[in-house]
Symmetry: C2
Subunit: 371 residues, 2 copies
């Protein structure tokens, strides 16, 4: 599979939903497979909160492949022998696209809090401009999970002619207070960490040592990605180390899991990006600018595939079902489809239980009868 | 209603489950109503993680009554005209019973980390000794919610002849990783707060200014006490202040709720006590010391009433149901009773939806036909 990683630089201003302007800006992106001659075989994959443009494949010297490698590749559900797959890092993030720690060109120092609030709509708009710059005006599909699913839905509403198919996975049309609350713990933990220096941290220092506040906040995030039952299954009451039960700092396996993943996370994710992207998630509301969700979804021309996971508590099945029900009411029945996957993995299922929905995606993309 | 608040001082060593010893120790307790002549009308109420001995009534100059005031009082479900109610602060806590910030008499300075790990069994044992000291050898009932319910169950197993009736509300027989994970966020946030000074903080300073880490951790706690649906109902997507949507620090109502309650909490709760009590909750396992939960519950002679709440995710209904099912199998059917309350308030329901189970408790205590 041919992988290319590039950065596109845009000098035209990006007009943001807030009324503010971002200029100039970069978008870092990765592509898999080959774009055909009439540029009609492109699939746009959108990433979640802490995802990046690196959705598939294994770089040299890398241990772990891209975050949806199980789904994207030769003969996989998103078949790179057939499709040209493009995934770009959202603006506001920290993997090469312009974000709060990027240089504000007007004064050659990082934006930090001068960076404007970004919305899901803005992310979609920026990526749409990237597609335009590549001469891609029509997509076979837009596919994303969690915040990636928000982008897919937003694109379906904002650019009705862009994609033939939309796959919105483990997502919602509007972020509920449960999700906002978990983000709040993270934001508070980051903001109040003295090493965060009210946003004026040294990025090299923070990368080398990690920010404890970000780790604490990420622990809360990891809880929200799971569920009581998935934790039972994953951890039970096992002790990770040979600590005694009666030692104050003895650790259950679930505690070691949270520690390991959360502190590790601080080495590769920027705390200001975490603030900005969780903000974008918190204020996501597909109906904003419309009188109702119905009115927003009336725009949609793409086929819409909604996939939810039974034990997902961050974005519950009923939230996907609501979008499906409205689509069914407004549009021809065959334009919308809903799959609720039996799973006990909680929200994480869209990343870790690919085997439960890859067939569905393959069939929806390639048709039931493959040669 | 007559309220008395006292401190009992014990010089005999308390032998802890860990093998360690606590001596001497104090237990702060409060009583409501009058103990009858043969001392047969006592009800022991047990408190939750951040609760105290102040379960009911309103002190002078106090705005808020005790934490279960809706349930305890003249003619209330736990009728103080009829019963003598006693509630004591658990050891390890910070409201007058011996805890990690109490003076270690051997060197006249606070225990801090020298304080031994306390278990639910230890809490029960200490309170049992208090009852003994008051000449109360038989209780009409033990009633508690959450960690209070753990104590009630533990007492039923450890002291089968102590109480006629046990009410274990919104609780479990063994703490699951979901609950442990939320406690982990809090513990980590406390431990890593520089102002915590690795446990060597100045208690006056911490009381005056509050510990941010404790606030962050408490936010996670508040999430665990609610549920996605209860948050929808309680907060929706309302904005608390007139912040703009596109301001990075604009606040949804749920965020203001978490901030207000969590920072307020740091003014009245001690961070080391939070570490020790969450530890006690994490390692709670009613079957410890037995081959199985069945074997532990075989001891029980009291009537056991289990009450759960449909939307409680911290201690799910099925966890109460499991205890009930085993009780039904082991003992005469009429010895155990299970009420699952329809509620969308999550774990908080045991404190805020008293109207949904007070009648049940009143009837179980006083009988169906009251004069």
């Amino acid at each position: 599979m041919r992988i290319e990683t590039k950065t596109a630089h845009f000098t035209n201003p990006l007009y943001l939903e807030s009324g503010r302007i971002l200029e100039p800006y970069d978008i870092r992106y990765e592509t898999y497979g080959e774009l055909n001659e009439d540029k009609s075989n492109a699939i746009w994959v959108t990433h979640a909160l802490t995802g990046s443009h690196h959705a598939a494949g294994l770089y040299e010297n890398e241990n772990k492949p891209g975050w949806w490698d199980g789904l994207i590749g030769p003969n996989k559900a998103i078949n790179t022998d057939k499709y040209f797959v493009i995934c770009s890092n959202v603006i506001g993030s920290c993997f090469g696209s312009t974000g709060p720690m990027s240089d504000d060109y007007s004064n050659h120092s990082p934006y930090r809090y001068k960076f404007p609030v970004i919305t899901i709509k803005d992310m979609v708009k920026a990526q749409r401009i990237l597609l335009d710059s590549l001469g891609i005006y029509k997509l076979e599909a837009i596919i994303g999970g969690s915040m990636g699913g928000m982008q897919a839905l937003q694109a379906a509403v904002d650019f009705p002619n862009l994609a033939n198919k939309i796959f919105a996975i483990a997502t919602t049309s509007v972020t509920r207070p449960w999700a906002i609350a978990f983000n709040k713990v993270a934001q508070e933990a980051i903001l109040e960490d003295p090493a965060f220096k009210k946003g004026y941290y040294d990025p090299e220092d923070i990368k080398a040592n990690g920010l404890v506040g970000l780790a604490v906040g990420r622990m809360a995030g990891h809880i929200s990605f799971l569920s009581p039952d998935s934790m039972d299954k994953k951890f039970g009451r096992e002790y990770k180390r040979n600590d005694g039960l009666y030692e104050l700092f003895g650790k259950f396996q679930v505690e070691s899991y949270l520690e390991y993943n959360s502190y590790n996370f601080t080495k590769w994710f920027d705390p200001l990006s975490y603030l900005y992207i969780t903000k974008a998630i918190n204020i996501f509301d597909l109906s904003r600018g419309y009188d109702s969700l119905e009115e927003a979804l009336a725009n949609v021309k793409s086929d819409v595939h909604l996939i939810s996971f039974q034990s997902d508590m961050l974005f519950e099945p009923k939230e996907s079902k609501e979008v499906y029900d409205i689509m069914q009411k407004l549009h021809p029945k065959e334009q919308s489809h809903y799959l609720n996957v039996e799973s006990s993995y909680g929200h994480d299922a869209f990343l870790v239980e690919i085997e439960k929905f890859e067939h569905y995606i393959k069939e929806a993309l390639d048709g039931r009868e493959e040669k």
